[in-house]
């Protein structure tokens, strides 16, 4: 009796203490969440930051995809909400509104560099020289034929274009929780759709028709790139969509496709020749600056030459660096408190 009583009282006290302590204790570690594309870069910076600044804790970096991270970011202001959301796409106007409703008004955007999206197949598969229209024809539910929309008849890449290898069509693309998906749609599918010359229809119908994918050969991957890679291993004819840095680290098992005749490399993306690239960024909660120690220093450190610059730590890890001028403007805008404004959709 005594034992049970004593332990349960002890348990309740601990629980109560825990609760009050949590409320009273102020968080002194930067908390980050979001894009799985940015995650490796942010984690590296977090560790280097912890090593370079002895007075600050090492920031904690979570994943959850760009959308998941921004949703957490917009939950409100306070120590039990995250300070920084990593994103591989720009914040949408709707998200800015949701943020404002929860009291998150001071949002600052920092672009850290660029990333390419590559199409890759298993190393022992055929060579692909893709054009956006090929991708569109491979994954659309309906394609135009003689001025009319018909159910997609293609089952083999060589049926779409004779220059493509004789290989069954199967695609593993990122699901909509990934920022990569938006870039994939905007930079590949929509241009491909335009090139396919759909019959006359209004703009909304056009977009719906362009982005309506068939489900039998297209697999949407909600997890990270390793899951996409597992698909390629299970079904060797699958083509997967990856980030350039992931491909770069797995060159022994993957072979990359050229898009519009350009091979994705750090140079071709930095020069803007490769069509499917996007900026990577993170969003900082202005209200947390000065409350959570180290936020300003983290941003400055992230964009410093040794980290995000050419030849810096992140370039080694596969990030395509932005110019020095661009980075210094980003930092000074951040320090001046310039707020993010979503572009109208």
């Amino acid at each position: 009796m005594k034992f049970a009583l004593v332990t349960s009282v002890a348990a309740l006290t601990i629980a109560a203490l825990g609760t009050t302590a949590a409320v009273a204790q102020s968080r002194d570690t930067i908390q980050i969440a979001g894009s799985s594309t940015v995650l490796p870069f942010a984690s590296i910076v977090a560790e280097e930051f912890g090593a370079a600044y002895p007075e600050f804790n090492t920031p904690v970096v979570g994943s959850g995809g760009s959308s998941g991270g921004l949703r957490q970011f917009c939950e409100g202001v306070g120590e039990n909400t995250i300070d920084i959301a990593n994103a591989s796409r720009k914040m949408r106007a709707g998200e800015v509104e949701a943020c404002a409703e929860a009291g998150v008004e001071d949002i600052r955007e920092i672009v850290i560099g660029y990333d390419g999206i590559v199409f890759a197949v298993g190393a022992d598969q055929g060579d692909f020289a893709l054009e956006p229209i090929h991708v569109y024809k491979a994954l659309a539910a309906q394609v135009p034929q003689d001025g009319e929309m018909v159910d997609n008849p293609y089952t083999n890449w060589s049926e779409i274009d004779s220059s493509l290898p004789d290989q069954d069509i199967a695609l593993a693309i990122p699901a909509s929780n990934h920022g990569t998906r938006e870039v994939f749609e905007e930079n590949v599918v929509l241009p491909g759709c335009e090139a396919a010359e759909l019959p006359e229809m209004n703009e909304d119908e056009m977009e719906a028709a362009c982005l309506n994918f068939r489900q039998d050969v297209v697999t949407e991957i909600a997890g990270d790139y390793t899951e996409t890679l597992a698909r390629l291993e299970a079904n060797p004819s699958t083509m997967g969509v990856f980030g350039l840095s992931f491909y770069d680290q797995n060159r022994d098992t993957l072979k990359v496709a050229t898009v519009s005749g350009v091979e994705p490399t750090m140079d071709s993306i930095a020069a803007g020749d490769y069509p499917v690239s996007r900026p990577l960024q993170f969003y900082v909660k202005g209200a947390h600056i000065g409350v959570i120690p180290g936020l300003e220093e983290y941003v400055q450190f992230f964009l410093s030459d040794q980290i995000a610059g050419a030849g810096g730590r992140l370039e080694e890890a596969g990030l395509i660096p932005a110019s020095e001028e661009f980075r210094s403007t980003e930092v000074s805008d951040f320090m001046d408190g310039t707020q993010f404004e979503a572009s109208a959709e």
Binding site: A22, G50, P54, D224, T226, N250
Partner: protein, 454 residues
């Protein structure tokens, strides 16, 4: 005559009866043999599957328990380590001034090019010219930090030469172990041909050896220095959570089971409670994660990614298991024990706590340990309360951000350097399985001991 006839018909009848019995007997034997065969087949299948799983995990994971390690004589060259002497406490400085000076000194240390020291040492041992970039490809990124913290702990090392063990980079380890096919052409390799040759040379000279990877247990997770990534942070996170589960779930669970079984009146309300407890035991764990995120984080404002919240969520998950097992144990106590106690004048409380409960200790203990082992392996609810974050420090308290062992398996499985982390993931699984085995062994040991005593 009639007698003989009757005898004859009698023996005829018993013969027929015997035949019938024989036939049914062989049918029953056959059925038994089939059942036995099926049983053995099921056990063999189960063993084969477990065997395959263990073989898979162990054959993949064992290589990463041994990692390529560089043994170098590092000279803390004063021309490279250009920092002033470390400030000394009490030498005319106020504590605040000392703190400030010490921080400045550490900042200066952070700026030293430690890789140059490593480059010098490699040059000495191999005679190959090598620059900072090559060092980064060859040695794990964390090597500079190892040198720095060694120097920070002992500033007298300036100008001295000390033997140090440094980890080879993840890609270097891949090359030496052949994880990436060594015959692949240059453009599909991660390292340049020069670096690969240098690695082979150092390996042949025994400057690089395959050492047991102790850092797997003492280091925290790392992205910038994948070769030095370890499980210490995840282990502490899991430990805190298990402590919280034990401290909360056991007393609450046992107390509610005792009340429901021994004291509560049998009516609709208690029936309803019982049904709900049984239902709760069958609720998928991810639902508890959603509940935890909504209640503990959003309503009570507990910190995200903290083992405290993880522990509370897992407590909720473990409670029904403990309640059900304790109630079953209490039910199994023979009524004569209760009646004897009551007959001798014990009160109901005395009867329960002095006579019934001690008998059930072994079962309760087993249920607790099995419940805790289950909670230890639980991943899904932790993903929803932010415990899948990348944490590069050991949590000092249950309120600090942390991961857990099964989540670490999940994180490593998703790492982009797959060639390296595939083996590392299996190593983490081995550690997790080992921990489970230990827990179950403790459960069996305690049960047999307590049962013998009782």
């Amino acid at each position: 005559m009639t007698d003989i006839n009757m005898q004859q018909t009698g023996s005829e009848a018993s013969r027929k009866r015997l035949e019938i019995i024989r036939a049914s007997l062989s049918r029953r034997h056959r059925a038994e043999a089939i059942f036995k065969g099926l049983g053995i087949a099921a056990i063999v299948l189960a063993l084969a599957l477990v065997g395959t799983l263990f073989w898979q995990v162990f054959s993949k994971g064992t290589p990463s328990l041994f990692q390529s390690t560089l043994h170098l004589d590092i000279t803390f060259d004063p021309e490279v380590v250009e920092v002033g002497p470390a400030p000394e406490a009490g030498s005319g400085l106020s504590p605040a001034e000392y703190e400030e000076a010490y921080l400045d000194w550490r900042r200066a240390l952070a700026l030293v090019n430690w890789n140059e020291l490593i480059a010098n040492a490699i040059r000495d041992v191999s005679g190959t010219e090598i620059d900072g970039g090559d060092v980064r490809a060859l040695v794990d990124n964390n090597a500079g930090l190892v040198l720095r913290s060694r120097f920070q702990d002992n500033p007298d090392l300036l100008g001295q030469t000390v033997p140090m063990d440094l980890l080879v980079s993840a890609n270097g380890d891949n090359w030496l172990k052949g994880t990436i096919d060594r015959d692949l052409p240059d453009e599909r390799q991660q390292l340049s041909a020069d670096t690969r040759n240098l690695l082979d040379e150092l390996r042949a000279d025994d400057v690089i050896t395959m050492d047991f990877a102790w850092h797997l247990f003492t280091n925290v997770d790392s992205r910038t220095a994948p070769a030095s990534a370890g499980l210490a942070g995840a282990f502490m996170g899991s430990l805190y959570m298990m402590l919280i589960v034990i401290v909360l779930a056991v007393p609450i669970g046992v107390a509610s089971a005792i009340y429901l079984e021994e004291f509560a009146p049998q009516n609709r309300i208690t029936d309803l409670i019982e049904v709900n407890i049984n239902n709760l035991a069958a609720v998928p764990s991810i639902v508890f994660g959603l509940l935890g995120a909504a209640v503990f984080i959003n309503y009570f404002h507990l910190p995200i990614s903290a083992p405290l919240v993880g522990g509370l969520v897992l407590t909720l998950m473990t409670l029904p298991t403990i309640i059900i097992a304790t109630r079953a144990a209490l039910k199994a106590v023979s009524p004569s024990l209760r009646q004897a106690a009551l007959g001798l004048g014990a009160s109901k409380t005395q009867m329960v706590f002095q006579h019934v409960l001690p008998v059930t200790f072994p079962s309760i203990l087993t249920a607790t340990i099995i419940g805790v082992a289950q909670a230890l392996g639980e991943t899904a609810p932790l993903l929803l309360i932010g415990m899948n974050a990348f944490v590069a420090s050991v949590p000092a308290s249950p309120l600090d951000q942390a991961t857990a062992l099964p989540v670490q398996v999940y994180l490593w499985q998703g790492n982009e350097n797959r060639n390296f982390f595939e083996a590392r993931t299996s190593a983490a699984i081995i550690v997790l399985l080992g921990l489970m085995l230990v827990l179950n062994a403790i459960a069996i040991f305690l049960r047999t001991r307590l049962e013998r005593r009782g």
